[in-house]
């Protein structure tokens, strides 16, 4: 991905240009329609082999990638860390090299270590798509969030506040990079213990009170509060968190404008979000899930393509 070009791998949004991000979002648009067809399949990745390598549990992201791959006619294999040779002490690179020796084309990887996707991408020939690496990035989630916002309003100038555990969130990081590049105004809101130090230096506004965030924002992206944060002492209790930072119907009713409510899932109802909000008219949480398949189809399609230097020579010879 040197030079900010959409290259072999998709590791994060930090190093993509605004044009690259727009290309992915524009490409996702026609892919939405494929999932509405009676026959939800196009032959574009026929013969390509993709390995979904998940070292952390994931339901939504893995299934979403798998649907995207199957709807493009790729052949897929799922490897979960439990029950694989990983638990027998094999290193990440050895696992990937063994898979590559079976002639695969792409690896979709979820890993607990930040930077794992880049590490792998530098060491194997196949394309690597980051499906979440530690606290670093979750680029396809960031992209599907951008696509969902863009379905409702132009991203440039939109005020988006990310609420919750920003410190541990790869979703937050990918969102912040993508939103800033496309010209949105970005804020974060949460307990001080869960906001990264120096986040203001990125050009991100910080709200200490969720009421202020709601008054300011056009879009709230509500993050999941992971229950292990309580044990680690970041937050006193889930009830306390809900009382202070919960996105409740009462709080939203005082908003000066209609907000779009997003959540990357899985939700903790009654912890970070009120059930009446999650099921309410302003929630686009299921649209995010639908868009996730389209965005992942777009990424797979674009990364499986040829090389940029062939572009000019191909232009003069359209097939007819």
């Amino acid at each position: 991905m040197s030079g900010g070009r959409l290259g072999k791998d998709l590791l994060g949004l930090e190093h993509l240009s605004a044009d690259d991000i727009r290309l992915i979002l524009d490409t996702a648009e026609p892919f939405k329609e494929i999932s509405e067809r009676a026959i939800k399949k196009v032959p574009v990745l026929r013969g390509k082999t993709i390995v979904n390598l998940f070292f952390e549990p994931s339901t939504r992201t893995r299934i979403s990638f798998e649907f995207a791959e199957k709807r493009l006619s790729a052949d897929t294999v799922n490897v979960a860390s439990a029950g694989s040779s990983v638990v027998k002490g094999e290193t990440l690179v050895d696992t990937a090299r063994n898979l590559e020796a079976m002639r695969i084309d792409m690896v979709v990887m979820r890993h607990g270590a930040s930077g794992a996707a880049r590490f792998l991408g530098e060491r194997i020939e196949s394309s690597v798509i980051n499906a979440g690496d530690g606290k670093h990035e979750h680029p396809t989630q960031g992209l599907l969030d951008l696509l969902t916002i863009r379905d409702h309003r132009p991203i440039a100038g939109t005020k988006v506040c990310i609420v919750g555990d920003v410190l541990h969130s790869r979703v937050a990081r990918s969102n912040i990079w993508g939103l800033l590049k496309l010209g949105a105004e970005v804020a974060v809101c949460g307990p001080q213990t869960l906001l990264p130090l120096g986040i203001g230096e990125l050009g991100v506004r910080v709200f200490r009170r969720v009421e202020e965030a709601i008054e300011w924002a056009d879009v709230l992206n509500v993050l999941r509060l992971q229950l292990e944060r309580m044990q680690a002492g970041y937050v006193p209790s889930t009830r306390e968190y809900y009382r202070v930072f919960g996105v409740t119907l009462e709080r939203l009713e005082r908003a000066p404008r209609d907000l779009i409510i997003m959540h990357p899932g899985p939700m903790n109802r009654g912890v970070e979000i009120d059930s009446r909000v999650a099921d309410g008219p302003h929630a686009v949480i299921l649209d995010q899930v639908t868009n996730g398949v389209a965005v992942r189809m777009a990424v797979l399609y674009l990364l499986a393509g040829g090389r940029p230097e062939l572009a000019e020579s191909a232009k003069g010879a359209p097939e007819r």
Binding site: D26, T27, E29, P30, F31, E33, I34, R37, A38, I39, K41, V42, P43, V44, L72, Y301, L302, A304, G305, G306, R307, P308, E309, L310, A311, S313, A314, G316, E319, R320
Partner: protein
Amino acid sequence: MARTLHRMAQDIVRQTPDPGSLVLIGVQRRGVELAARLAGEVAAAAQVDVPRGSLDITLYRDDLEVVGPRPLVGPTVLPVALDGRHAWIVDDVLFSGRTVRAALDQLADFGRPARIGLAVLVDRGGRELPIQADVVGQRVDTAPGDRVDVFVRELDGRDAVEVLRAAQGGRGA
């Protein structure tokens, strides 16, 4: 071009026993505009509503491995179920036949038309597959390296067919 399209519309009506079952499907990009104009002509001639759709065949191409970076994909919109209909594929230029092959594959994923016809504004020869058009606006003799460009007023501000000869590098039609 208006006269050519008028004649093509007459041909389409003549070759469609049940005009009520017609659907015209334009291939992105210029085929979509041509299908829209043909639909207007056909509707006037046969006194029926003619639904029309658009097809982007990019995801069905057989040359994606060699065209370099992935081309942008345009919208595919089919407003009616194809089953039992008399569908016409409309494109600007018929050359190798590979676009039509891709379009046929794609239509099969949407349903089973009773019949599929092919109408093209320009047939420039040079087929690589056993595919022929049922309705042709004009035939142009070309060499393999020549380019045939179709311009339509909706997208280009003017209607024209231009042949760019590889040998001389000049234009003329």
